[in-house]
Each structure stands twice: as C-alpha cells, then as structure tokens.
Amino acid sequence: MSKNSVFALIDCNNFFVSCERLFRPDLDGKPVVVLSSNDGCVVARSNEAKRLGIPMGAPAFKWRYLFNEHDVQLFSANFEIYGDISKRITNLLTTVTPRIEVYSVDESFLDLTALGIRDYQAWGRTVRESIMKNVGVPVSIGIAPSKTLAKLASEIAKQHDEFDGVMSFFGIAPAMRDDLLHQMPVGEVWGIGWRLAPKLRAEGISTALALTHMRPQHAGQLMGVHGRQLVAELNGTACHPLTREHEAAKSIMRSRTFGEDTNKEYVLESAIATLTSQAAFKLRREGLLARRIGFFTETNRHKPGYRRWVRELRLGQPTADSGQIISLLVQELGQAFLPSQYYHRLGVFLYDLGNEDALQTDLLGKVSTSKHDRDAARMQALDHINTKIGKGKIYYAAERLAESWRPKHQIRSPRYVSSWSELPEAKII
C-alpha cells in the first residue's frame, strides 16, 4: 500500500461513436448508436443517444421506432477502426510514460508517481488536447492517489462540463471533494457491481462518500478483502498497482449466437468452420500453436430444458491449421449432435497455446516439423489471400445467417484505416 502514488485514468468518451465520427464529422451533435455486429445490441451511444434514453445493451429491434423517429445513426461495430485508434492512443500515452496499463480498448491507467508533475490539472489538459489533436477522439482524464479514485475522477470529469474533461483529486478543496463524492451513486464506483450495490444501499450506504466513511471491519464483513481495499483506495491509499501488460493470449475463443435456434447439423458445422477460421487466424497472427481445441454448444438459456455440451481434444501435435482443426471438431460434432435439440449458440476455443519456437525445441520428439512447415506455408498463403482480398470475401453459410435479423439500415462504416480500397475520400476544391 502506498500513500504517495499518483494514477491517471485516460478514458475515451463514447469511444466507438467517437471513432465513427472522426471520419464522419457531419455526425457531431447527432444521436449515434453502435450495435454489436453479432446480435445487434447497443454497445456504444453518443451523448445525444443517451439523452433519448437508449440503454446500453438494448436490442436494436426493440428501439427501432425511436431510432426512426429521432433519425438515430446506426453503425454496426467496426473493430478494425476501434482497434487501430486504440493502438494510436496507447502509443501516444507510452511517450508520456512507459508505466501504462491498457485496461480495455478505451481505458488506460498511467502511473504518474515518479514524474514529478506539479500541476496535474494542467498536465491532464495537455494530454487530452494532444490526443484530440493527434488521434482525433475526445477523452476524459481522472487523476488521483489510487486507481479506484482515478476512475471515479474520470467519471466526474465526464459528467461535469466545468471540469473540461480533466478532474484531479489533488489540490481540490475537501468540501468540494466530499460534495462530488456525495453526488456519485455507490453503484458507479469501480468494483461495486449490480450485486453489491443493493447490499450497500440496504446498509444505508448509497453514495461514494458514504463508502469512504465505512469502517474497514464493516467493509470487510460486507465485501471481503476486496471491500476493505476498495474503501482504502477511495480514501486515497493505493492498494492496486498497475497490472503488468497482459501476456500473450492463453486461449482464444470465438462464439456466436445463431440467428434463430437451429436443429440443423450443417448450420453448426458451418459455424464451427467460420469460428475456427477466425480463431486460428488470430492464433497464426500471434505466432502461436494450439495443443488443445474444442467447442461448446448450448440451447437457449431462457427456455426450458436448457442444455450445454462441451467437447475437447488434445492434439498429438500442436497446430494453427484451420482446415485440420475444423475437420477434427466437425468429427466431434458428429458424435455429439442431437437432432432433437434446438441449438442457440456455439463457440470454438483453442488453448494450451505455445509459440512456434517451442515447437522447435520439440524437434527431437515426435513432432513432425516438415508437416508443420507445410501446414504453415499453406496457412500463410491463406492469410495472405484473406488480408489482400479483404475479409469476408470467402465466407461460410453460417455467416449469412446473421443477415436475416440485422436492422436494414444498420451499416458497417468503411474500413477507413485498414483497407486501401476503403480509405476516406477527400475532394479537391
């Protein structure tokens, strides 16, 4: 635990919407919603869309009348753009300090402890302006002695215009600090989920301020060690240092909900094929091989007779070959498939991953490197085609399924930053 730490949270405002707006400045000030490409649920909202009362996670079809009435611009998620913009922000922040924890696609913590910054508010403004100018998306910045407080500060910065996007708990009058914490509902505090919030409210603790006044023993009784730390963090004692950069993926999973529940084996097969291709592509891009592969499938959780099946295999020789994995999993499916069931969802997972160099050390064992090299060359050619011709050029029947229940006017924006044939256009005037 440390009393003298300084953390900043850099949090992108309505990140997916901001990415879409970067290439569509005409959408500034208009309601914009981004839907998950898989099941058409709301995954990002502009402030205008929030004000219309559209909730996060809402299924698009339920809100279609409101979308039409208010001319809400719908996008389906374009992760190639979001990933690219996110990486730019991370790169920029790394020039500020290498002590960075990329917490999610749109949030990063920085450890500012050793930087000797005098005026945190001014520092925050500079960083915010730099991201806006260079990358082109707005962020909110919270600065505080702990990560939990920094997160809260960025939330306050977002909610109160007078902070201009940057809120620091350093150098703030105690009365104002208390006032801000008093306005923050307890459920908004990082680490207080939908399960803890009602529990706390039942104890009469309904704001972040009330939480800071909790006795550690009481917090411990109610929420365990996690709760004690949380209260300490809110009182300015850092308990959570930056988490080390996430290591290479330990497993890769791709899953999909079917357009409608299905009892057709071929639908499941093509889903396995599609999802395996995606997962194995990622595997190869990271230079990894999978030693264990598997799939799960389940019926609709919300219908009676819910069932779930999991099948997995350990491979004699690790692989990243889509074709090989697909054929093994499809064989497994043949044994597990029940025509009497209506399947709702299927997922493919690859795990027990190692890098290709690890395979080399197995050279003397039973691993056949010549086979591996042949597979690798074939997959490299396939990836080359896929990246060159563009994704989705070769697709399986299962990918088409989703089309039937996508809102008609929902569009994926062009791949402005990842495809030479979809660059934004600029007209000579």
């Binding site: 005409d26 790169n91 011709i389 563009g390 000579i428 005037i429």
Partner: protein
C-alpha cells in the same frame, strides 16, 4: 548434405552465411519516408481532377498528418459542411468557419497499381 534449419527455413550449407537471412540488414522503408508521426497519420483517397497540373490526380493516396499545425501554403483536409464531404485545398482557400482535419504531406500516384481495382 544435411540441411541447417536455423535460418528461417532457408537451407544453408557451411560457408559464408546467406545475407538474406540477416534480420539486421537495413532496407528502404516507405513508412520512414512518408510518415513522420505514426500516431497522427491517416490515409485518404483523392477525388477530383482539378490539380492534375500540380501532379495530383484522382484516385491518388494522400498522406495526412494531424499533428502538424497548418501554415502558409500548406495543403489541408477539412470537412466541407455544404458538400457533406472532406475537401482538399490550400490553407488560404479553406473557409474561415471550417476547421482543419489534417495537413497533407504527400500524395502517392501509382501508374500501374497492383492493388485491387478501386470501386
């Protein structure tokens, strides 16, 4: 003769090492030539024929850097409210009410493009 597998799959016999497998060899890098700031550089596609005299053609790729402050005779990208599209012009020709999206630092013109035909 036994193959040595340690050189990127290239078979190498004893003797002078194949320089093609030396990863430290420097090569000309177009990113280095064209992109000063990776964080703030975006690519655009040029539309319009009015600048052919200046060597800028329809379908050229424009390298646009947001980090630069536009000045003097710079070529800039800005959002044209009226037309509902991005515009390219000299800074002086940009309307007062428009704001600069980025500064154009280079265009790339391919005489024989091996990229797929543009739509």
């Amino acid at each position: 003769m036994p193959k040595d597998r340690e050189h990127d799959g290239v078979s190498v016999h004893a003797g002078f090492p194949n320089p093609a497998t030396d990863r430290s060899l420097l090569t000309l890098d177009f990113n280095q030539l064209l992109i000063q700031h990776t964080v703030s550089t975006y690519m655009f596609r040029i539309r319009g024929n009015d600048w052919e005299g200046e060597g800028v053609f329809d379908n050229d790729i424009a390298v646009v850097d947001r980090a630069l402050d536009p000045r003097g005779n710079d070529v800039v990208i800005w959002w044209n409210e009226g037309g509902g599209e991005f515009a390219v012009s000299r800074l002086q020709a940009m309307p007062k009410e428009a704001s600069c999206w980025g500064v154009l630092t280079a265009t790339i013109h391919q005489f024989r493009s091996f990229q797929r035909e543009q739509k």
